[in-house]
Amino acid sequence: MNKIDERQQPVAAETALEFRAGFAFTAGEKRNLLVSALVFIVVACVPLIFDGYVLQLTISIAMYTALATSWLLFSGPTNYIALSTAAFFGIGMYIAAGGIDLLPYPVLILASGVAGALMAAVVGLATLRVSGVYFVIFSLGLAELVRQIMTWLQHVLGTMSGLYVTIERSEPMYFWQLLLLTAAVFLVGWWIGRSRLGFALRIIGNDELVAVHCGINTARAKVALFVISSTFASIEGAVVAPRWGYVEPVVAFSPFLSFQVVIMALLGGTHRLWGPLVGVIPFVLVWEVIAIYFPSQTTLLLGVCFLLIVYVIPNGITGLIEDALNRRKKLGGPASGVGPLQRALEVSANPVARPATTAEKQ
């Protein structure tokens, strides 16, 4: 017992130190927090002013922003493309739908978060220790796998394939719930970004071999973040389920959702936490137009949009903005284009500027 204590003490002290340092905000960070809080309050007033179609659009935007940003938490810094959002989202939906008559709703939301975290931990532990490609492959079919298992379970248990989620909620209520969730995702993302974990992940994303040589437990860092990211997707499924009213496997585990989330995050850009937000807003608007005028060609058009983004703006809208800013800044200086790698390095160099604690010791 004593021995273990001795070994753990420095680690505990380090963690405590780091924890305290986590509360030491720079002036810039304080300003950003204040601005974000103001924006949050202003956006929260939307349902008081608008209703009907505009409110529906803002609900969509809030929903996809939370999903795309939580996707970015993991896939942004690590460059591992997770194609499994629909699997976690569907799990959350099913837990909400299946338990609505048995347990109070808040408990179900909590339960869906736990279920999503557990599944993410299993998937992460199996694949993330090995290589990125295996993770992508595993995540590609995960929604389909869970759908098959759910269908089979319902068949064995003899329940109907569809479930009704009957709970009274007004549209503004959904909006506030989703907005709160989005805010939580942003806060967690921001917190991770300035924590030791976030620093470790950026090193992994830039060069995994270097990260290993720095003594980072790469598998643990990746699994931890994948769990966080997936938990949010599950919770969101539970939050949205009553709004859909009726849940069945084909709808809940639609591969479309995973695809939309990736596309929106890429459109916005994956190097900044607020990137997906920039992508979601135009995408939701364009999507409305597509759904109205080309209802039968949605898959095709979505695919075309996706390829355009991959080929034409690989760094997303935020990448374009930053390129433009850099170009203006460097007008007098040496004319060197800033590549995505350099930009990523700049981003990863940022957190070092905070009070020197433990990240450097790694």
Binding site: I81, V133, T299, L300, L302, F306, L307
Partner: protein, 288 residues
């Protein structure tokens, strides 16, 4: 016994589609997530041919193969090559090609929905029974199996006995070194990608003789092919063939013993085992 024979018959046909992906991933180094859609396109084209001419679907393969070859060659030239040129590293290329082919798979689904519609495809060809060890099996399964074995054998010989095959295998081992011994790596990669697409499409044509398809199933076949390739080891055709048989057996066992709707779960269980026990695959080389 039932399970073993049906599993082996299924595995034999799976082998062909997985070799297609093996050529694309092992040699051309492109993780093609649109592979399953090519397979579905092959299946639907075969169906069309059969519906129009009433001739044996096997003849359709002579049309499907060159068409798929040309299509995949074009895909490589137009979509993949810019990514190869743009990529600063192997990792970047991997991310880009995954994204591009993922988008491509949705485009293919959209195009096929427009052409073929959303219904299930099912035609009956050679559905009379054949008796093996006193049990009844569909003749179409047996015919598809032998056609697949024939093609796999031909591919294997081509890869191992000809100069072009040697070049492809060299690129699979090390593209950089292959370039040094004056192999045109870009050409070989394009050839492997196109050939892989053709092989996959033919595999789809053969599978369509006894399986039911619809447009959205592509991702399932992509996944099965990927799992077979990983299970067998990237860059080794023997491993792929063996792994295809293992998956065929596992799937048939799950389908008969538990539930036909859980075939993907069988594939995933195999995948899990490989990841935990031998991530480099049965015949793979352990790399850093």
């Amino acid at each position: 016994m039932d399970i073993v024979i049906i599993g082996l018959l299924l595995g034999g046909t799976y082998a062909l589609m997985a070799i297609g992906l093996q050529l694309q991933y092992g040699v051309a180094r492109i993780m093609n997530l649109a592979n399953g859609e090519i397979l579905i396109a092959g299946a639907f084209s075969t169906f069309w041919f059969y519906a129009a001419t009433k001739a044996s679907p096997l003849f359709a393969l002579f049309l499907v193969a060159p068409a798929a070859f040309a299509l995949n060659w074009a895909i490589y030239r137009v979509l993949i090559l810019p990514l190869v040129r743009r990529a600063k590293s192997q990792g970047k290329l991997e991310v880009d090609s995954i994204l591009a082919t993922f988008g491509l798979s949705f485009i293919s689904v959209g195009v096929m929905l427009a052409i073929f519609g959303g219904e299930y495809l099912d035609y009956s060809y050679l559905s009379q029974p054949i008796f093996i060890f006193g049990e009844r099996y569909g003749l179409n399964r047996v015919v598809a199996f032998f056609a697949s074995v024939l093609l796999c054998g031909a591919l294997y010989l081509w890869l191992h006995k000809t100069r072009a095959g040697l070049a492809l295998r060299a690129v699979a081992v090390n593209p950089g070194a292959a370039g040094l011994v004056s192999i045109n790596v870009a050409r070989a990669s394009a050839l492997a990608f196109a050939l892989g697409g053709a092989v996959t499409a033919v595999g789809g044509g053969l599978l369509s003789m006894f399986l039911t398809f619809d447009v959205s199933l592509g991702v399932v076949f992509t996944l099965k092919a990927l799992i077979i390739v990983i299970l067998g080891g990237v860059g080794d055709i023997r491993g792929t063939i063996l792994a295809a048989f293992i998956l065929g057996l596992a799937e048939t066992a799950v389908a008969t013993l538990i539930d036909p709707g859980l075939t993907l779960a069988a594939a995933y269980i195999l995948f899990m085992i490989v990841l935990l026990v031998r991530p480099e695959g049965l015949f793979g080389r352990r790399t850093a």
